[in-house]
Amino acid sequence: MSETPQVTSALASSLDTTTVGGGADAVSPPAAVAGRPPRARASRRERLEITLLSGPAIVVFVAFVILPVIAAFYYGFYRWKGYGPPSDFIGLHNYRVILTDPEFHRAVLHNVEIAGLSLLIQGPLAILLALLLNREMRGRSIIRVLVFVPWVVSEVIAGTGLSLMLPVNGAINALLTNLHVFGHVEVQWLGPHLGLWTLMAILTWKYLGFAVILLMAGLQNIPEELYEAASIDGASYWQMQRNITLPLLGPTIRIWAFLSIIGALQLFDLPWIVWGEFNLDRDGVSTMATYMAHYGPRTGLYGYGNAVAVVLFVISLIVALLYQRFVLRRDISGSVTDGGRR
């Protein structure tokens, strides 16, 4: 799908700049030590290094992100079934249809619900688990494995398994029935009432491991001395977590939230496989990406599908830029705003 790359795009651009800045900084000192006119030599080497280091990334980025986005814009202006070159130019018609289609509105709403609920459910859980797993305790490796394995399993495999377990006749209801506690269980896990919550449970199970990994990495970066100082001052464990760990974990949490929001906006594979193309809208788990696949390639309307991809891209881009501007600004200020200019 053409929508996946832009997660990388925002990150890649910030990472690119970071690399370039670091490279330039590293080069300057020897030039000064050599005692020659530093400017000319340094800048030639600098330029060469910038080209060599960032060149491949830029080529890949342009070929697989920028060009497809431009192509999607182009095809979105046509009525085109994907056979032969597009010839029936219809201007903004596709965009008008998309933006007035109640089914698309519902898909956007589901995306927003999924993004919000993901943050609310996975965030606190992930922080608690990361704190827990950061301590020496019995059975720690087992819990780690249990949390991380779902994240490693491919979405298609997990989705296929769940799609066999969750229907009314499936294994989950059979298991609950066999517990002989609830009587004969016939819960419609996938139905319109529970659909969204079932999806949230699946997503939490699937992606919690990723959040925990990020947060545990963040915990490693908090200097031990701070805790020592705090404990000398008589702080309790919870006081330390609240006043040291959480604030210093801030940048990691904000990056995780960013990835989680973008992932939720582009969610496709799990609902598509578990619910099936025709059930998504009814059961309240359609997303912009499933809408795009259903009315794009599956319906043979490639022009329309491309227009939906553009809308999805623009929405994701706006969210990403706003988030960078208002939330991530502090965390990345050193690398983006004046990197490489010194």
């Binding site: 046509y78 009525r79 085109w80 079934k81 994907g82 056979y83 032969g84 029936d88 219809i90 201007g91 018609h93 596709n94 008008r96 249809v97 799609s163 066999l164 969750l166 229907p167 009314v168 006749n169 499936g170 016939e186 419609q188 996938l190 619910w275 099936g276 193309e277 025709f278 059930n279 809208d281 009814r282 259903h294 009315y295 390639p297 599956r298 319906t299 043979g300 309307l301 022009g303 329309y304 227009a307």
Partner: protein, 437 residues
């Protein structure tokens, strides 16, 4: 909205001319001209794409390629099998890339999708041999025609009907098979009470939509169906009536539990798997059903008690009670294929090759001279129903092309699963389908 509706209508008209319906059970014209001209002795290699991935299916094409090579030593055919669900996408990309990438010989379903390939200049026109054109029904031929020209050769036909377990019908106390919807409704209630209901693979969309198609075939006159196909509009009131009749039938809860989270094929939990394991009594399907069910029985052998009956008639239906809905599996040549491609397809259409094909795929061959190779009772019954049909209609989603077909299937699923309660929503979905570009 600013788009121009005549264009959609024009292409729909071409579909009508092409794939549409309606053969009067018939014999074809003997149009004898085998297409061979130019240098027939130059060395030629052709690629063939099939959607079959199973042992016997792929083997059939390899054997056919070898047999053809023996007759024409200068022609070599390379068989490549592409997973069915990937097939359309891969083919479309390869055809877009044109010469060099496109397969010379390709699996083809006909209808609206084939028309799009024809309009893009990606398919080569074919000339059927005298044997093929006289032995393949004009109905099956018409599925692969556009604007009066032939672009594909049918190898098998897939008449639609209800495939059922005769044992489970007996167990539920049913003696005969239903001929009216009223009978079907009361039979379905008995089957449901016996714990083995009828099934529908609603998760995949099209199996549910087939119920609407069949109600439309029974409720609408041949003329109304023709007009719908040529205008891409459900203008006749019979299309609403078909929705109402479907709604009345579905309201009696004839299907298995959680039908819209059940897939049609591929696993023991699918409807074909449930039928193969005697968990449900039957389902509405095309004639690929015996093969699909046979793969899912515990011993991987054909289901011994599989039966077939045609879709029952509705009260006051304007359609003929014998009218058949069917599809066909065929093969096309790309626009860049060498002339020997046409010859090879005519070779595949011979009675000898088609009966081998029918055995390999458990299918009903399109060539009448090969239809003696159909041996299982259910397929025989389906073939008989197809041969007795006054006229036949292509599966509506194939006929309309994926654009309108997908909108129709989505609307039928929403209606049958209770998301929308108004049968008018099905008619509206078709009439508004062309707003999306």
């Amino acid at each position: 909205m600013s788009f121009n509706p005549t264009r959609a209508r024009r292409s729909a008209f071409a579909v009508a001319a092409a794939g549409l319906l309606l053969t009067t059970a018939a014999c074809g014209s003997s149009n004898d001209a085998s297409g061979s001209s130019g240098d027939a002795n130059a060395k030629v290699t052709m690629t063939l794409w099939t959607n079959s991935t199973t042992g016997p299916g792929v083997q059939f094409f390899k054997d056919a390629a070898t047999a053809f090579h023996t007759q024409h030593p200068n022609v070599t055919i390379k068989v490549q099998s592409v997973q069915n669900e990937d097939y359309d996408g891969k083919l479309q990309t390869a055809l877009q890339a044109g010469k060099g990438s496109a397969p010379d010989i390709m699996f083809q379903r006909g209808g609206g999708k084939m028309l799009a390939m024809v309009q893009a200049g990606q398919l080569g026109e074919l000339t059927l041999s005298g044997d093929a054109s006289s032995n393949i029904s004009t109905g099956a031929q018409s599925i692969f025609q556009a604007d009066g020209k032939t672009y594909g050769v049918p190898l098998s036909i897939t008449p639609e009907g209800i495939w059922y377990s005769t044992d489970l019908f007996k167990k539920a106390g049913l003696t005969g098979t239903p001929t009216t919807i009223a009978d079907l409704t009361s039979d379905a209630a008995k089957l449901q009470a016996a714990g083995t209901p009828l099934a529908v693979g609603g998760k995949d969309g099209w199996p549910a939509a087939h119920w609407y198609y069949m109600f439309a075939v029974r409720d609408c006159s041949q003329d109304a169906l023709n007009k719908a196909a040529s205008s891409a509009q459900f203008a006749d009131p019979c299309f609403l009536q078909a929705g109402k009749d479907l709604g009345t039938f579905v309201a009696t809860k004839p299907f298995e539990k959680d039908a819209f989270n059940t897939a049609a094929q591929g696993s023991a939990a699918s409807t074909a798997g449930l039928l193969a394991n005697h968990k449900v009594a039957g389902e509405l399907m095309g004639a690929w059903e015996p093969g699909v069910v046979g793969d899912l029985t515990p011993d991987k052998k054909p289901l011994a008690d599989l039966g077939y009956f045609p879709f029952p008639s509705t009260v006051d239906g304007k359609g003929d009670a014998t009218a058949m809905m069917e599809g066909a599996d065929g093969y096309s040549c790309s626009a860049w294929a060498p002339q020997q491609c046409n010859e090879f397809l005519n070779f595949l259409a011979t009675a000898d090759q088609e009966s081998k094909y029918a055995t390999a795929f458990s299918a009903i061959p399109a060539n009448k001279a090969a239809q003696g190779s159909v041996t299982d009772a259910a397929s025989k019954a389906a073939l008989e129903a197809a041969n007795n049909a006054k006229y036949s209609v292509l599966f509506l989603d194939t006929l309309f092309g994926s654009n309108i077909g997908n909108a129709l299937n989505t609307a039928v699923v929403n209606f049958m699963s209770g998301q929308s309660s108004d049968p008018q929503s099905i008619v509206d979905a078709v009439n508004n389908a062309s707003t999306k570009g």
